[in-house]
């Protein structure tokens, strides 16, 4: 079992890239800007509002997936093109160890970046609330939300690594990475809507024991971005795994697990059969 060795090496390699530093700085800066803009002096400071109304839609759901794709898309194809994959596979690693070790290593590196990026503004906010400049800063909600942001990043790392394993060249991997981002961030609703409409027109929905509305909701939640949004908002309003929407939340969690495992497996299937 050499997966941990690869994960650790890849983690070390990734956190040493200059991009990581830029990433942490960018997260910190943006969170700080949102905190400043959305917390007018003298009014009540609402941590939950800051996160669900500002940081969530503007930062987490657009930037985190992008970063996940950027961190993951060259994981395997980059090593394949440079030749370091030869060094890696001359050691006793299976190709499955390589693909999943990369998911773990780069997922951990991205999580570290997200945590550090959110932590710096959190310290400032905490200090301000201690000094009485703002109303109580809810550090629990803030840290919990950070976990959801990191989960979303890891899911996109996994999808991008899977794509990278399947790609023969860096160019293919790059195109795949862009396609992933465009699909999930921009086109998911339109594509699944078209698909569902066509299925309904063809009479494929009526025989099923679920309504078109239910399928539509499921398809929305199947997008990891919507899934994480749903879960994090439930968390912030204290309704995680309780209340009426618990089924939706379970669907969202299952789909996040699916997106973390299935793309790397599919990529491995191709990678394992390739001549390198």
């Amino acid at each position: 079992m050499s997966l941990p060795a690869i994960a650790e090496k890849d983690f070390q390699d990734t956190v040493r890239s200059r991009g990581m530093l830029i990433l942490v700085a960018l997260f910190s800066l943006l969170v700080a800007v949102f905190a400043y803009v959305f917390a007018p002096p003298g009014e009540q400071f609402a941590t939950e509002f800051l996160l669900s109304a500002a940081v969530g839609p503007f930062l987490v759901t657009t930037l985190v997936p992008l970063v996940g794709v950027v961190v993951g898309y060259n994981a395997v194809s980059g090593e394949r093109e440079s030749g370091s994959l030869k060094l890696l596979l001359s050691l006793p690693h299976s190709r499955a160890d390589v693909v999943f070790g990369k998911v773990v290593g780069r997922g951990a590196a991205l999580s570290l970046a997200v945590f550090s990026g959110f932590l710096l503004p959190a310290l400032v906010l905490l200090a301000l609330s201690q000094l009485g400049y703002i109303e109580a800063f809810n550090i629990g909600s803030y840290l919990g939300y950070t976990v959801f942001a990191a989960v979303l990043g890891v899911v996109f790392v996994a999808i991008a690594v899977g794509c990278s394993a399947a790609a023969t060249t860096q160019r293919q991997a790059l195109i795949g990475g862009v396609a992933i981002y465009v699909l999930f961030v921009m086109l998911w609703g339109a594509i699944t809507g078209q698909f569902l409409g066509a299925a309904a027109d063809a009479g494929l929905i009526n025989p099923l024991p679920v309504s078109q509305q239910q399928i539509s909701v499921f398809l929305q939640v199947a997008n990891p971005i919507t899934g994480v949004e749903l879960l994090s908002n439930a968390f912030l309003s204290g309704q995680l795994f309780s209340g009426e929407a618990v089924n939706q939340q379970i669907s969202a969690v299952s789909m996040l697990v699916f997106w973390t495992i299935a793309p790397p497996l599919a990529g491995l299937w191709k990678f394992d059969a390739d001549d390198l």
Binding site: A5, K9, D13, E79, G83, S84, S90, H93, D275
Partner: protein, 328 residues
């Protein structure tokens, strides 16, 4: 036990057959030199041994295990210096070696391995700043981790200066003395002569010769090269006739004309007859000397196809057919 065993191995890529019907056996404990010009299929063969590339036909067994099915367990006991590899630019030399040790679940001291390849002084530098030769030595240190039973070196001397190449040979010797099997490829015969027990020569994906270096030299056998300076004053017609006369002599395998010089490849005893034939034809021999077939000649004889045992065939048939570069 055999260290490497290929039976009827063929590898076809979309555009070229890199290896065809290759049978190759490397016994445990020997140092085997795998020779051939660039594009002969050496790297493809090694890639199949390492399971980077899967054969189209035939079986590849390494350390008595199947190369594809048992790849991880094989590489647990194998050290590899790959060809055309890259290092991890952002990790230090020591981190590379530590990674190799950890991957092989070995307990080597990273510093001892780095010292052995004379890289200890640069161990804490990032490998991205290493020269080609330093990267080569770093990969060798990684290959030596865990005292492997089989060491595979693909073009190990590339990027090394003469001193580095000598150190490489000493390490190969030391590993062989420890009992390891060493299999290494090269396109330069001199490099293998000093260390190899046995040599195999690959040409266009086929093994054309396999023997000790002395055995190969004997097989090409007593061939000598005569360099003869002839008097340029004669009319061209006379010289051409003389060349034809020499070519017809018994024991002469090849005559090349280069202005006023003739280069004649002939059997040991044919020297006097060559000179005699030239003088009979009315050509004045100004000067001549012989040179023994160098290793390079020997290698070229096998790889260009006019040596005994080099699967015959008309050399003209292959004229202009450059071996294709197979690079994957």
């Amino acid at each position: 036990m055999t260290a490497i065993e290929l039976r009827g191995v063929t590898k076809e890529f979309a555009d070229v057959t890199a290896v065809r019907g290759l049978d190759l056996t490397v016994e445990e404990g020997e140092v085997y030199g795998f020779l051939g010009p660039n594009g002969a299929g050496k790297s493809t063969t090694i890639d199949m041994v390492l399971d980077l590339v899967r054969p189209t036909e035939g079986t590849v067994r390494v350390l008595d295990q199947d190369a594809t099915a048992d790849g991880v367990s094989i590489r647990q006991r194998t050290g590899v210096l790959p060809d055309g590899f890259a290092v991890y630019d952002r990790l230090t030399g020591r981190q590379h070696v530590e990674f190799a040790i950890r991957s092989k679940e070995a307990d080597d001291d990273p510093d001892a391995l780095l010292d052995r390849v004379e890289l200890l002084g640069d161990a804490d530098r990032k490998a991205g700043g290493y020269s080609k030769g330093m990267r080569q030595r770093l990969a060798l240190a990684m290959a030596l981790a865990g005292d492997p039973d089989l060491i595979i070196l693909d073009e190990p001397s590339s990027g090394l200066d003469p001193a580095g190449a000598k150190e490489m040979r000493e390490i190969v010797r030391a590993e062989a003395d420890r009992g390891a099997t060493v299999f290494f490829s090269s396109h330069i015969l001199e490099q293998v002569e000093a260390v190899c027990d046995r040599v195999g020569i690959l040409r266009e994906g086929e093994l054309v010769a396999e023997d000790s270096v002395e055995g190969l030299r004997e097989a090409v056998g007593g061939e000598e090269t005569l360099e003869i300076a002839i008097d340029g004053g004669d009319a061209d017609g006379a010289n051409d006739a003389a060349v034809d006369a020499v070519r017809d002599l018994d024991g002469v395998s090849r005559v090349d004309r280069d202005g006023d010089a003739l280069v004649v490849s002939c059997a040991d005893g044919a020297k006097t007859r060559v000179i005699g034939a030239l003088e009979d034809a009315g050509v004045a021999v100004a000067d001549f000397h012989t040179r023994e077939a160098s290793l390079e000649d020997l290698f070229l004889a096998y790889t260009e196809g006019d040596a005994p045992g080099a699967d015959g065939g008309d050399p003209d048939e292959r004229a202009g057919e450059e071996p294709e570069e197979v690079n994957r």
